[in-house]
Symmetry: D2
Subunit: 301 residues, 4 copies
Amino acid sequence: MELGIIGLGKMGFNMAERLRLAGHKVVGFDFNKEATAKLTATGSIGVDSLEDLVKNLAAPRAVWLMVPSGDPVDQTIAKLEPLMQKGDTFIDGGNSNYKDTQRRHAEAAAKGFEFVDCGTSGGIWGLREGYSMMVGGDKAPVERLTPIFEALAPAKDEGWGHVGPSGAGHFVKMVHNGIEYGLMEAYAEGFSIMKAKETLNLDLVQISEIWQKGSVVRSWLLDLTADALKKNPSLDGMEAYVPDSGEGRWTVFEAIDLDVSAPVITESLIRRLRSREANNFTDRMISIMRNEFGGHAIKKS
Amino acid sequence: MELGIIGLGKMGFNMAERLRLAGHKVVGFDFNKEATAKLTATGSIGVDSLEDLVKNLAAPRAVWLMVPSGDPVDQTIAKLEPLMQKGDTFIDGGNSNYKDTQRRHAEAAAKGFEFVDCGTSGGIWGLREGYSMMVGGDKAPVERLTPIFEALAPAKDEGWGHVGPSGAGHFVKMVHNGIEYGLMEAYAEGFSIMKAKETLNLDLVQISEIWQKGSVVRSWLLDLTADALKKNPSLDGMEAYVPDSGEGRWTVFEAIDLDVSAPVITESLIRRLRSREANNFTDRMISIMRNEFGGHAIKKS
Amino acid sequence: MELGIIGLGKMGFNMAERLRLAGHKVVGFDFNKEATAKLTATGSIGVDSLEDLVKNLAAPRAVWLMVPSGDPVDQTIAKLEPLMQKGDTFIDGGNSNYKDTQRRHAEAAAKGFEFVDCGTSGGIWGLREGYSMMVGGDKAPVERLTPIFEALAPAKDEGWGHVGPSGAGHFVKMVHNGIEYGLMEAYAEGFSIMKAKETLNLDLVQISEIWQKGSVVRSWLLDLTADALKKNPSLDGMEAYVPDSGEGRWTVFEAIDLDVSAPVITESLIRRLRSREANNFTDRMISIMRNEFGGHAIKKS
Amino acid sequence: MELGIIGLGKMGFNMAERLRLAGHKVVGFDFNKEATAKLTATGSIGVDSLEDLVKNLAAPRAVWLMVPSGDPVDQTIAKLEPLMQKGDTFIDGGNSNYKDTQRRHAEAAAKGFEFVDCGTSGGIWGLREGYSMMVGGDKAPVERLTPIFEALAPAKDEGWGHVGPSGAGHFVKMVHNGIEYGLMEAYAEGFSIMKAKETLNLDLVQISEIWQKGSVVRSWLLDLTADALKKNPSLDGMEAYVPDSGEGRWTVFEAIDLDVSAPVITESLIRRLRSREANNFTDRMISIMRNEFGGHAIKKS
């Protein structure tokens, strides 16, 4: 079938490729003309305007947004709506907040558009291994788009599913990423403890490889970790600085709103916040208190 | 080659079987005569005394202990030493504290025995899939035992390794289990949040299956989780009560001793402690404080 | 001066009393007629309708809301606005979210009303000891209300202040309560550890009294704790169940929004959430995982 | 009565002074001759050898150790024992681990000495305000030393007590310091959140002063915090680096050993560990994982 894709970054471009290889017609737009040219070179149709994108698709159209969450999604939809017609479908494949998704679904429905949300996991490996997709929205558009999901997924019936009404896809993906934060932090702490045990002189690369086979902690993240450690076992040249892209904090907010205690996902987020607090005020406050009551020395900067 | 195994529980019995299937001679002892009879029935040699175990092995002997950590290990060694001779090797395949292991290694060495520690992961699946083994100790006995490790491992050269001097095997296994605590808690929190989001009516079995293919959080633990949820999606009939077997708390102690901040592994442990604190004093203390300063109602038991 | 007070619960009634004792005229309303009658009996004016409240005050009026946060505040304002006139002032003395306060301030300003927010601490002890007040809003109404704040405060110039623009009062009070969560949890954990150390048979009442004098941890909360322990040293007859009234979770949300890592305030909240999760799903998930990989027994309910 | 004091640092010197002012005879030793000379100048007896210290005291002697915990305590006792005689009493007033204390008590008892442990709080303010003391040990020596405790305490019968058998004093002091960690972190986090809310431009000095009067969070630590902020409101010139002196981590170990979940005291400790992990391995591990699966950029150092 035909699919428009808006946003040809790391994720969007590879998804276009995977669809083309599965025999689908892909029309792709990006502000970056290099990306659209590169797409055209693959055999898909790269276009430099949303008008051209819409023109190249037959109604009922399906347009997949792979743009940063927040304002870019709203802005893209606002530009597309006048170009599209009733019955066309938007798919938001990015990491939008599910509450925004539910609002956009309602707004789209009021104008006669379909709106499907698809939480998409797989990162830069998706082209080769397929994408895990959690799909939310109404039944009809999800059924119509099934060939697309089947082509993007690791296998026809595996790694994707229609998980619920509008917002459900992004909700499940949000939690997926919250779990991901916890998994990453658990591995990272464990390797740090082993690194710090200098008297045993442990080889982290060797250990990560042992664990890949037969251990309880084996996982895809561990496979990646083993690969990365092989390239740079001491992690030289890097800063201890970790961004977060939103889903982790949304998961924490949601847990609290639902009265669910989730200390590990929460601490994974807090740890990332801490990694970006150069010379933080909290620790300096504690230093002055210790100095005030106990005369303990303060480390000067 | 020949191996004595002491302790034919879930782990020890299956290891004996995996070794027998690989062509090794296994002599197994357990206080439980049913277990030894069952071992004999498989074609290995089940014996009912340590004397018989030692007699059935040619020097230099290798005796693998698969008994609960702590006193049982010391007691078993104390009983075996008079029966064995210089140059024989003890392998502690259980979850001993690495500090005990280092002490036992020194004590054994003073008497002319070899002492190897082997952190063994794989649980009840090891018979079929092989065991992940982290081996610590001196080079000579580890080399001599290599055929044993190769047979127990998922593949000859995979899933096991000599990771360092005495204690290193148990140290790495300890950290492995600490990581395992964190991974389990991260998944469990995520599924709890989804369960609590009643308005979306999410199907946890479906989601666990989606994530198994192509997602960033795919892992062996997730595979097991999907299997378990399939059998009992609402987890009915179970208590929210989680034991811990020691390695998690040792990992926390070690992190602190090494000045490594490990909030996620630590919170995973604290969560388990909390699961066993029926009507805990801490929360009741907070209730009385709230009542004292704000007149807030106290929930009576 | 004159002040209307809406809401004569634990806090509002005592504040009315403290103002009356300082020579101010108080007109108080509550849906509970017993409360208004009781107020009249003290010498203040208890009224049974908002109309009567407004009528009993001379313009420019000041009406202090001491009602539950959220909808009740909006509803009360909506009923009052038609009765009041330009230049009158609302004071929200409850625990409203500062974002709601900023919205209400803007809405009130558009209609010609003043809107002051006052975070009020002191609980049931305020009548005797005075209230700590963090005031936000525009300069003019705060200056006009200064005699009220001076009368409610522990002393004329102590324990209160104009901390910033609209919302600042409630923001600071929110953080105050977040800190309060952390303090309470720290004490409660410490006493729990001492309680659990059965071999030392410690007397928690004695210890709380020792610490009240000269120790680094002396505080008003500790004074209250000592009083409460004296009445019920073993905290018999209580459930380990702790509600939260909103400010704690708002503090956590705010910390994350501001990229400030605040693990202790956050864990204090998570602990309260956990206290209300009977037979929680998270711990049961961990139990099934342990059973799946290790064959560990599950505690049945 | 007479008391020998060993260790005339910030704590020991002031305690000697408080005792002298109360009419007791104090003989003080320190390796630092300036300190002993200064003591002599106050009217007490400063000595430059342990021999002289013992000679200046009449039997049964009482010698108070105010030296760093760990080896210095054992070494000082080992040097004193040959000089002292049966029935003499050691008082360990420092922050020793209660398990060491129990061992020392047993060793002292075997040689005919008394051994009392005294957890001492109050810091550099103790000379003026008195010390809070938690005393452990046998009844007889504690009774004999009562005049000393009464003189050091804030008031004769306040701020000190015999809390239990040997080790109980240091155990309670350990928990006291664990609580102290939690309190400090709670305040520090709260002030950090307010500092970060730049749009409200809050005055932290003003707020700390407001809270000192009538608020639920008023405490001695808050008083000190207010003083410190007044001197340096932006905490310029300081590093976000916080040492820990042992009692915090012992409290965490003890909580875990007792199966008590204590997330807030634990996170307070973890936070301090984190403050000293420059360019920590954990965060860099997370960065490489993010790069491996998602192609996310790594911040270079």
